[in-house]
Symmetry: C3
Subunit: 258 residues, 3 copies
């Protein structure tokens, strides 16, 4: 249902069963896939600067929560879920299953993989490249300017399955390896090897990720996290993870979305 | 007065003299005590996820400023005051006189005492337990996951009268003692004794709080802060503080709310 | 054009050609100069606390983006540009050409020079004094209370052309010298000399700013940044900068606004 107070351009292309909340504005060049739910007080398809940015495309089965602003000129795969007051500038391409927490700020011109999860209040600088199944926690900033202010922009690269903990920053041009963990309140100024843990300002090597034990009494390794954390991921991926680690714990599979 | 553009469910229970600003939405299961003031562009009683979360209850004499979002399933004592764009998820219980600054993000399932003050842009992770008369300053995050991402959640505990300064994080399961001070830009990875100061990444003991002097020319101790800072607290509490410290400074009492 | 859903007080003073977006509220004591553009879901002239704060004055040719809240009692020169969800409290005086990024929080009673640029999500504490052509990057906080909480407020001072990089804080009463650079993720607890670089927690001297080289292949100095970064500044200022550094690179001038 389109709330009667919503201002939806007749040129916007809304799929079947899309709902739009009160006081939300949807501009001309917006496409929202089937079953999309848009909350109240949002603005979708906000005009970008000079130079036609192209449409804003939101995949099917997406949920955009209240007070969010998306510019035209970005594309999101199916199953996008946002918190409240999210801002997304133009020029970003994101895969399926992206989650952006409340207050997230995606600066645009980013490439984001599948099933990425940004917790609340992350800032993803322009030209960031984020792999699949990445986790980024609150108050993390991916930067891009090595000597601010300048016209040089060196985006950050984050490998698949990597996790960046709360209130850390990644400096321009740095690559975070696949499955790596950046500890909380760190400043990462050089590349991080796959499956390693770094922490501090500047962040330095601490141990391999598989040396960290789960604090659930099991004594199992906490990483790779896909050994034990599967909530909301596609069953197909989770089955592959279980096979990879020889796990037969059916509760782990049950936690996944089927 | 209920602004004519506000969308207020007939099932919401508004006390006498409640005002609701333009373009604000109040859902079914919301109770707002007498004299409550709700600003513009808010959404109160946002449906929580699966499983009935119960009502949102806002005590009497509360002020909720514009663009704020409260989910159903939390309870606030009288005299709640928020800044703008506050987000509060379900399952939180808070005492009287809570202040939440602009952009505050309370993740839910928290227990918050009386007369707590969150300055702008704090992030209170799920399962945090915050005592009475606590102060938390901008860009502080209380975390809960010891090896993110995981299903293990170890909330932070903050003792009465403690203060956590700007841009600090408290790691999962840590307890901050009564009256302790966490210096700015710190990462607290172990418990902090009562009435001590810690600072750094990781945060380490610096001194007892009463060794810090007030920079007002008096040379008096800056802590416990209730020796000199009483603005807006109930007169009853302030009189007790004055007695505790043998202060007879009537201007200190006059600053309190009577 | 004033959108029909905008609630504009008949006592607000809007210059010629001002546009106001949907669901925006403009209170009584607001003055907006010619050609101003105000986005959707804003609230301008929000009443300040006790004691008449005076009008909110926005200079000509300004753009205020959606979901922003400005209190009465501040004055902005011409060409103000904001991102989304900006909050500005009462009592601030700002010069021409100020930019405030998305989620910026200006706490009030600040003095801000000309052509200052705040990137996303900065927090400018009360009583801050910011010079001309300053840059402040995401998640920077300028603090003011040396022993929080207290009634002592010692604002920060930032000199002309200084830059403070991402997720740094400046402690109360500190002065950042003209042209200085505070590296990312730093905590600045003492004054910073002009044209020097500091970094760390606590921030310490690293080198002179002119020892940092531009990472554009040229090997030129990256600072003073006005040698090479001129986008959007007034042509008059840029010509002066070119003369100062004996640069004859016409592309640098062309990047400036003429």
């Amino acid at each position: 249902m389109i709330h009667p107070t919503a201002l939806v351009s007749p040129r916007a292309r809304l799929g079947r069963n899309v709902s739009v909340g009160p006081y939300t504005i949807i501009h001309d060049d917006v496409e929202i896939g089937a079953n999309g739910q848009v909350g109240s007080h949002c603005e979708l398809g906000h005009p970008a600067g000079a130079g036609g940015a192209g449409p804003l495309v939101i995949g099917a089965d997406s949920t955009i929560r209240s007070h969010s602003v998306f510019y035209q000129g970005s594309t999101f795969g199916e199953g996008l879920v946002t918190g409240h007051r999210v801002t997304v500038r133009e020029g970003t391409q994101a895969g399926k299953g992206l989650q952006i927490g409340t207050l997230g700020d995606i600066q645009g011109s980013c490439v984001i993989g599948e099933y990425v999860r940004f917790h609340s209040n992350v800032h993803i600088g322009k030209h960031s490249r984020v792999g699949d199944y990445v986790w980024i926690f609150p108050y993390v900033v991916l930067t891009n300017d090595p000597h601010p202010p300048s016209e040089v922009q060196m985006g950050v690269t984050v490998g698949d399955f990597a996790a960046i903990a709360t209130m850390s920053i990644v400096l321009p041009g740095v690559e975070i390896g696949r499955g790596a963990l950046v500890g909380a309140h760190s400043s990462v100024n050089r590349c991080v090897d796959a499956d390693t843990v770094v922490v501090g300002t500047p962040a330095r090597f601490v141990c391999r990720t598989d040396e960290i034990k789960l604090k659930d009494g099991s004594g199992s390794p906490a990483y790779p996290w896909r050994r034990h954390f599967t909530r909301g991921y596609p069953a197909e991926a989770v089955q592959q993870w279980l096979a990879e680690f020889g796990t037969s714990d059916s509760s782990v599979l049950a936690a996944a979305v089927v």
